[in-house]
């Protein structure tokens, strides 16, 4: 019996037992129940400690004992200590105990959930109504308020057409007229730019990077300026070779650091990287020569 008491002291919520006026009586009742259990189900469990734990669980499961008066954490600790001390585990018993513990945990959480549900309040109206009919001057007011609170709502949002209209074919045609004129102009400009790019000795070349940072920045900037402020893919700024792509990439990082542009990528990590100009400057202030590139970028 000492074993049972020992286990019970660990398993029961001390507060629940000790703060209770009927603590003595209840402990006595528990112990009596445990004793009865000893003659019942858990005879098969030989180990006195395991038998005591099983009996305590049985209190909850078979005798509708409050599941929250079983301290599952304390039990777990107790059982683990025993396993460690013994060095042997009876898996059949352990399995049974775990199953019982799980059931108790479930009971505990069910009860918690039940307590967490907000109490069912009657519609506020009824509590008002209890105050007396005098709050409403006419029966109609009472009826109206009751109708509203019961969900007979006389309001619904007006449904109208979206204030947008489809574009007409005529507009598409007019837009086409304008687009063709503008496209012709754009194409001329593009041809001029390409001619400039081809003739000017401005290709990034195979110089050692860092020596001509300002030149790299200026050239990259001039290409960005061609975009009129819209977002452009990084790839569109460097169309020659891998070396140029690297040079432009580095220049773009500098420009971003200098807050001349913003960079963003769609669909990280493999999406297209876009460059958007945020500065209106036409020419860039040269980066001071004495300032190493690393410092500017830092």
């Amino acid at each position: 019996m000492t074993n049972y008491e020992n286990v019970l002291n660990h398993l029961m919520f001390h507060k629940a037992l000790l703060n209770d006026h009927e603590a003595g009586e209840r402990i006595g009742r528990y112990l009596q129940m445990v004793q009865e259990i000893e003659q019942g189900h858990y005879l098969a469990v030989r180990d006195p400690m395991e038998k005591a734990i099983a009996a305590a669980f049985e209190l909850v499961l078979e005798h509708q004992f409050n599941p929250w008066e079983i301290d599952l954490a304390a039990f777990t600790k107790l059982y683990l200590e025993k396993v460690r001390d013994d060095g042997v585990v009876n898996f059949v018993t352990a399995g049974k105990l775990v199953a019982m513990a799980w059931t108790i945990l479930k009971l505990q959480s069910d009860e918690l959930l039940g307590r967490a549900e907000p109490p069912q309040q009657p519609e506020a109206f009824f509590s008002d109504w209890d105050l007396g009919l005098d709050v409403y001057d006419t029966p109609e007011q009472f009826d109206y308020t009751q109708a509203i609170l019961q969900g007979r709502i006389p309001l619904q949002e007006a449904i109208r057409r979206e204030g947008k209209r489809a574009v007409t074919l005529m507009e598409l045609m007019q837009a086409f007229d304008e687009a063709r004129v503008e496209a012709a102009r754009q194409l001329e400009l593009a041809a001029l730019r390409e001619k400039n790019r081809a003739t000017a000795p401005k290709d990034f070349g195979n110089k050692v990077h860092g020596e001509d940072l300002n030149e790299d920045l200026a050239l990259t900037w001039s290409r960005i300026l061609e975009s009129n402020g819209g977002s452009i893919p990084l790839a569109a700024l460097a169309d020659h070779d891998r070396w140029e792509r690297v040079t432009v990439f580095v220049a773009v990082l500098f420009l971003a650091k200098m807050e001349k542009i913003t960079l963003y990528q769609e669909n990280f990590p493999y999406g297209e990287i876009f460059v958007k100009r945020i500065s209106s400057e036409e020419t860039l202030e040269p980066v001071p020569a004495h300032k190493p590139a690393e410092e500017v970028a830092a």
């Binding site: 709050v135 007011q141 006389p154 949002e157 007006a158």
Partner: protein
């Protein structure tokens, strides 16, 4: 193209109530022609039992889904306001001007949040009165709910009727709960 058709097209595409003058100006039709067209259109839509109505709201005209069909149409035009807010709006509109404290007595403490939300949408206006706020329907109320009422009495009549309550006899106004004692000299208000 008929003049009536031009007015109909204007209402359809505007997606919001339009003043007679607005329509006249944009279409080049005479104000009187626009007015007559609107009335004829309203009658025509009404007579053929269309799900669409041409209604006069707050002095403007609009084309909208008739209230009976509103629920069915919600599948395609989901409402913005939660049901709870609709209830509170319906109470404020009926009892206006109503004190916030009285509204709290009716719907509970959620009234505070509702009042804030409805005020943000300009569906109601609030005015401090003593320790509480006095609530009235705001500038967008009629338009938002598509209510063809010209004044507060008419609005109350429509609300009562739609809630399934007998419409009050013309000229009498339901007083807000507790108003009898707290606002003895409340004058009938014309604004809605």
């Amino acid at each position: 193209m008929s003049e009536q058709g031009v007015v109909e097209a204007a209402l359809f595409s505007a997606g919001k109530p339009l003043a007679v003058e607005e329509i006249a100006q944009a279409t080049g039709l005479h104000v009187e022609v626009v007015r007559a067209s609107l009335e004829a259109l309203a009658k025509a839509y009404d007579e053929r039992g269309s799900a669409i109505e041409i209604a006069r709201i707050g002095g403007k005209w609009t084309m909208q889904i008739r209230a009976d069909y509103g629920e069915k149409a919600q599948a395609f035009a989901p409402p913005e306001l939660a049901k709870d807010l609709l209830k509170t709006s319906a109470l404020i509109a009926y009892y206006q001007p109503i004190k916030q404290s009285d509204l709290v007595r009716m719907v509970g403490s959620k009234a505070y949040e509702h009042v804030k939300a409805l005020e943000q949408l300009s569906l109601i206006t609030t005015k401090p009165v003593g320790q509480t706020l006095e609530l009235r329907t705001g500038s967008t109320f009629l338009e938002f709910f598509g209510l063809p009422a010209d004044d507060r009495d008419e609005l109350k009549g429509i609300l009562a009727e739609r809630a399934g309550i007998a419409s009050p006899p013309a000229g009498t106004e339901p007083t807000p709960p507790s108003a009898a004692t707290s606002v003895p000299n409340a004058k009938p208000e014309k604004h809605v």
